[in-house]
Structures are given as structure tokens and as C-alpha cells.
């Protein structure tokens, strides 16, 4: 577990350094994910340890959002003042995003699967 955790942190650090060094708008951890992906492709997959540690970490991904979510208590005031536009915006926009993304993908896949059509 220790070596896997170290690897994850090293890739995060590399991502952070490159993102800041080159002034990229992409956050360090996302770049770190990309670097790790390239490394996995180069060495043909994660070792057993990295596989299990990551699985454990991702299994409780939800937990990691709890501290930030609890921050709602600081904004109860603004939320109380603007609850209607906030609620409608979040609700409608989230549903719209789910539907639009899924529909566009479905249409593209149908085109891709259609015989005689160039992809």
C-alpha cells in the first residue's frame, strides 16, 4: 500500500509541477491522472499493489467529498436568499446535461454502427 500511495503522490506532484510551471489551466491531479495513464500504457498495466490500493481509494470516493460539502454551512445565508434560482438552475441543468450527453452519444453510436457509413 505504501509504494502504491507513493506512486500516486509522485504522479500528482508531477502534474502539479507541470501545470503550474507551464501555466496550464488544467489542475495538477488531472494532469497526474494523464501521466499515470501514459505510464500504465508504457509498462502494460498496473501492478497488483497499485490495483488494490486504487480500488480501495475509489471505493470510498464519496467520503472524500464530505468535508467540502459540509462547507454549505458557511453559505446558508446566500443559499437562503437565492434558493429558488439555485435549486432550479442545479436541477434543470443537471437533468439537461445527463439527457443531452446521453442522446448525443447514442446518436453518434447509431451512426457509427450503421453499415456503409464512414465513421
Amino acid at each position: 500500500m505504501l509504494s502504491a500511495l507513493t506512486q500516486l503522490l509522485v504522479f500528482q506532484l508531477a502534474g502539479e509541477v507541470v501545470a503550474r510551471g507551464l501555466n496550464l489551466p488544467v489542475p495538477g491531479p488531472v494532469l497526474g491522472m494523464l501521466f499515470l495513464f501514459v505510464a500504465l500504457a508504457l509498462r502494460g498495466g498496473p501492478g497488483h499493489e497499485l490495483q488494490t490500493t486504487s480500488q480501495n481509494l475509489l471505493q470510498h470516493l464519496s467520503l472524500l467529498f464530505v468535508p467540502a460539502g459540509t462547507g454549505i454551512m458557511v453559505h446558508l445565508h446566500r443559499v437562503a436568499d437565492e434558493w429558488l434560482p439555485l435549486l432550479l438552475s442545479l436541477l434543470i441543468s443537471t437533468v439537461a446535461t445527463l439527457v443531452v450527453t446521453a442522446l448525443v452519444m447514442k446518436l453518434c453510436m447509431r451512426r457509427q454502427a450503421a453499415p456503409g457509413e464512414a465513421p
Binding site: 500516486l8 489551466p25 488544467v26 489542475p27 495538477g28 491531479p29 488531472v30 497526474g32 491522472m33 494523464l34 499515470l36 495513464f37 500504465l40 500504457a41 498495466g45 497499485l50 490500493t53 486504487s54 481509494l57 475509489l58 471505493q59 470510498h60 470516493l61 464519496s62 467520503l63 467529498f65 464530505v66 468535508p67 460539502g69 459540509t70 462547507g71 454549505i72 454551512m73 453559505h75 437565492e82 429558488l84 434560482p85 439555485l86 432550479l88 438552475s89 442545479l90 436541477l91 441543468s93 443537471t94 439537461a96 446535461t97 445527463l98 439527457v99 443531452v100 450527453t101 446521453a102 442522446l103 448525443v104 452519444m105 447514442k106 453518434c108 453510436m109 451512426r111 457509427q112 465513421p119
Partner: protein
Amino acid sequence: MTPQLTEIWVYLSASPLLGLTVTLLAYQAAFWLYRRSGMNPLANPVLIAVAILVLLLTSTATSYETYFAGAQFVHFLLGPATVALAIPLYTQFRRVRSMLLPVVAGLIAGSLTAALSAIAIARLFGASLPTQLSLAPKSVTTPIAMGIAERIGGIPSLTAVLVIVTGILGAVGARAIFDAMKLHDPAIRGFAIGVASHGIGTARAFLVSEQAGAFAALAMGLNGALTALLLPLLLGWLR
């Protein structure tokens, strides 16, 4: 409280131990409820854990800063967890490569819908400008969304909360929406959840299937990068 209890409380409220422990306890309780409900998406563990913590903190008059001094150790793991998403992505890469066109088209359409519809609806119903701008990156994973909010003139900590709520809404509603659309491909379901509701949606997708989870993770990463690039430019043109 007796003087001795007060003394213990003073010590504990100044140390990170308490914030960290109550976060884990609240999450365990929430997860237990989630399981008991048969993994009903309405019993979302993030939602329940946050509700428990807010009640606990407000009833003990503990500030968020004090709480976060301990909870930041959990918060920190978001970074390595994001990096770790490369592994399911790698495992599912063959399927992803065969779906390149749908993935790219779905990503662009979904990313634009998420940001622009959030601003438009909030504006329509009279939200203030900082609130509108805080809403714009709501479908992007927390650390990226906070960075975007800061750049475009939103309130980063409000964005963090809106991101979480969006994640919960997506995780709660996705199954019913996709079932109504008669959409069964786990790759599409996962990807759409990842675009709309980032890591919380991804967490939910992983509980359903590895393939849905991997596509959700892919969507979350891509949408984070695309929104970070696109939103500042787009808002610059709109102004």
C-alpha cells in the same frame, strides 16, 4: 458541562482529531443507512453525512474552519484519488477507443449544456452575478471547479458546495432518467453521469458496474479539463 468536561472539549476542539473522526463516523453511519436502503440513490451517503455534520457543528457552535482543520486530511485524498482514476480508465481503454466519436461529441455537448444552462437558468430567475458565475462550473470535480470559479469571478467555496449538490442530484436522478430514456449501455450511462455530476456521479457509477465507473471517470477528467479551458474564453466572449 462540568469543568473537567469543558477542559476536554477545549482540548479536542483545538485539535484536528475531532474533525477527522466525526467525518469518518458520519460517513460510516451514512453508508450504513445507504446499504440498509438497498443502495437507494435517494439515500446518498454524501448527502446524509453532510446533513449529520452540519447539524452536529451548528448544534455545538463549532466553526467550519475548526472542523476543516481536521477534515482536510480526508479532503486532501481527493488529489491522489483523482490520479488513481487512471487505472480503471486504462482497464477500459479498448472500449473507450472504439467509441471515440460518441465520447468526443457527448463530451462537448454535455460540457456546454452544463455550464451555459446553469448560468442561463440562474439569470432567468434573478440570481446575482457572483451566484451565476459560481454555478457555471458546477458539473466539474471540486478542485477544478473551485479554480475555475476563482478565475471567472465566482465564489470558490460556494462553488464547492454547488458542485457537491450537483453531484448528489445526478447520482440520485440518473437511474430514473436513463431508464425512462430506455438507455441501457453502461458506457453511455457512466459517461453521461461523469459529465453531469463528476466524482459523486462516478462514485455511484462504480457501485453499479466497473465499466460505468471507468466511463464516468473518463468523462469527469475530460469535462474538468475542457471546462477549465473553455469557460473563461466563453465568458470573455459573452461579456
